[in-house]
Amino acid sequence: MADTAKPKGGTARASASRRRNRKDTGIGNEKPETLLDYYRQMLFIRRFEERTGQAYTQARIGGYCHLNLGEEATVVGLMTALQERDYLFTNYRDHGYAIGKGMDPKRVMAELYGRVDGVSKGWGGSMHMYDTETRMLGGYGIVGGQLPLATGAALAVTYRGGDEVVMCQMGDGTTNIGAWHESLNIAKLWNLPVVFVVINNFTGMGTTVEMSSAEPELYKRGAAFRIEGERVDGRDVLAVRDTASRLVERAREEQTPFLLEAWSYRQKGHSVVDPAKYRTDEQRELARADENDPITIFDAQLTKAGVLTDDLRDEIAASVKAEVAEAADFAENSPKPDVSTLFDYTYATPVPNESRRMPADPVFAE
């Protein structure tokens, strides 16, 4: 097991002034347009999520709303590691992943607004982005719920002799629920090509990893199932991409599951409404520190390498801003679902005696 880029001392104890413990990602060998593409994608997710938070506080978006702020490098690195034909399952912090896997951001925003043009036609909301075409198979709100599903999707792939890989994203808190243990065991037993990815932002809602996990070195927790695990600095888009790509391709080649832990800081509360008062001053500082901000980090790297100029930065910022505004406008103008569609999606196969009764209707309509 490789232990790359370990956050020294875990959550609260990591020093804000610590230099990034990242091996040289070989930025000099990367094509500038590739790097700028990553930069733009990360910035897009940042601005998209900021707009989402704003729309939520304006009550344009309802329900729970969890943002990927601080996780942008992880999102882009992971999604870059997947082929188009690969499948993705995620938890409820899914907006960035949905966009990264290829969903139209306009339709992601429309889903947040609960409109008919949303990816799930307004039936899912923030936690339930889904799109068969781009093979992002949800967006799940129950912690751990996506793990058995991802395992079964990989079973279907191998059943048909396919070469797709399934990536299953989750948060650090998920490693303690039964579905984690059952799914990793089954995935290894049945030789399934799944890459389980734990996003370790050191906090499950307000509970730290140390408070919830007897083995807080989460990438080691595949050991009980003989699943190889690696840890990567989730603030570093290239490191995430490289590590994830290697594991995805190994899963494809070797037909076996892997575990990847990507750590980064959740910049804000668990969800938009959470002020994160449980955080210590030190934790708050870490979460907000520029040097833990993946976009600030990448910006500095690209600037230093001469890839990102002031003009380019302004140009990208302006185009991202325009595209996010376009997504919000699209969502705002998309129709709300008609009440007449309420019973459209209860069953895939029509069935006699399915109830289509509205709340005050009699059971036996004359």
């Binding site: 990989a154 037993l189 209860t346 069953y347 069935v351």
Partner: protein, 337 residues
């Protein structure tokens, strides 16, 4: 027609569907090498191999969820849960996932999954292995719940469940596996298109004095009650619900409109049980036709004891149902034999 057991009807139909459709696979504990706790999957591993007959670890949430995920990609898994009691371990995957995925994502992906599982007390298995908790699943929109009571139904309903694109909880019963009944000669043919309609109840015996409603094992007990009371000149109409969700209310309401009285027999607990929904539906659909309050005969409200006299006393029986019927008829001044 030939006469076979409920067990054989299930086993042969399952095999026929596996022959018919390459996408059908069976998943569960002890279904392969062990050939099934109740031998429904006997011979399948030998015939189809481990790719299509998947023995699992004891991990109901994990393998039921894996079946849901496989169904999302178009396979048609038939999961065996050793008993319905163990479905509680998998309930998050059944209720929060299998039942939600089609609707929650706007109809993009169906979940063509069958979960076969037996309920049933009366086997001296004690409190945790004798429950009838099909109500939990019958409560959930997005699920379909089927409860065959005869070998013929077991065959045509299992075929319907496997060919349906929605998740189906297929309720079997420990007390029925050895029961026998007539089935069509070609019931085990892969090309057989004798498919039951999900969502339909059936009047399985006509009568005029009172309607007796049951499902699964209690539907067969209801028939025994009707036969016994016929000897006393009481004419009982029997309705077998067959489908617990969707619920075919019209069939039993029409029956009650004809007879004017109803008794419901159920293996589950009375309070909030399946019978409560039936009774509520009858009062709404046949209020003016009722000559007596609707009676329910249900399991005593205790965790099922192991000791035989206690277990027997806790369960509805031909005698207790007959008594409830006579009391109901007596209350309305109808002749009691």
């Amino acid at each position: 027609m030939s006469v076979i057991t409920y067990r054989q009807a299930l086993r042969d139909t399952l095999r026929a569907e596996m022959v018919r459709d390459e996408n059908v696979l069976v998943i569960g504990e002890e279904i392969g090498v062990f050939e099934g706790s109740y031998k429904i999957t006997e011979g399948l591993l030998k015939e189809f191999g481990p790719r299509r007959v998947k023995d699992t670890p004891i991990a109901e949430e994990g393998f039921v969820g894996a079946a849901v995920g496989a169904a999302m990609l178009g396979l048609r898994p038939v999961v065996e849960l050793m008993t319905i009691n163990f479905s509680l371990i998998a309930i998050d995957q059944i209720i929060n996932h299998a039942a939600k995925i089609y609707g929650m994502f706007g109809g993009q992906t169906s979940v063509p999954l069958v979960i076969r599982t037996p309920g049933g007390g009366g086997q001296q298995l004690g409190a945790t292995h004798s429950q009838n908790i099909e109500l939990f699943y019958s409560f959930i929109p997005g699920l379909k719940v089927m409860a065959p009571s005869t070998p013929a139904e077991a065959s045509s309903m299992l075929r319907a469940a496997i060919r349906d694109d929605d998740p189906v909880l297929f309720l079997e019963n420990l007390g029925l596996y050895n029961s026998k009944g007539e089935v069509p000669e070609d019931y085990a043919e892969p090309k057989n298109d004798n498919i039951a309609t999900i969502g339909r109840a059936a009047v399985t015996r006509e009568g005029s004095d009172i309607t007796l409603i049951g499902y699964s094992r209690m539907a067969t007990v209801a028939t025994q009650v009707a036969e016994k009371l016929a000897e006393e000149d009481i004419s009982v109409e029997v309705v077998d619900l067959r489908s617990l969700r969707p619920l075919d209310r019209q069939t039993f309401v029409d029956s009650v409109k004809k007879t004017g009285a109803a008794v419901i027999c159920e293996d589950d607990w009375l309070t909030y049980g399946i019978g409560a929904e039936i009774a509520a539906s009858i009062q709404e659909g046949a209020f003016d036709y009722l000559d007596a309050p609707v009676r329910r005969v249900a399991m005593a409200e205790v965790p099922m004891p192991y000791a035989k006299p206690l277990e027997t006393a806790a369960l509805p029986s031909v005698e207790s149902i007959s008594t409830a019927i006579k009391e109901t008829l007596s209350a309305v001044g109808k002749r009691v034999g």
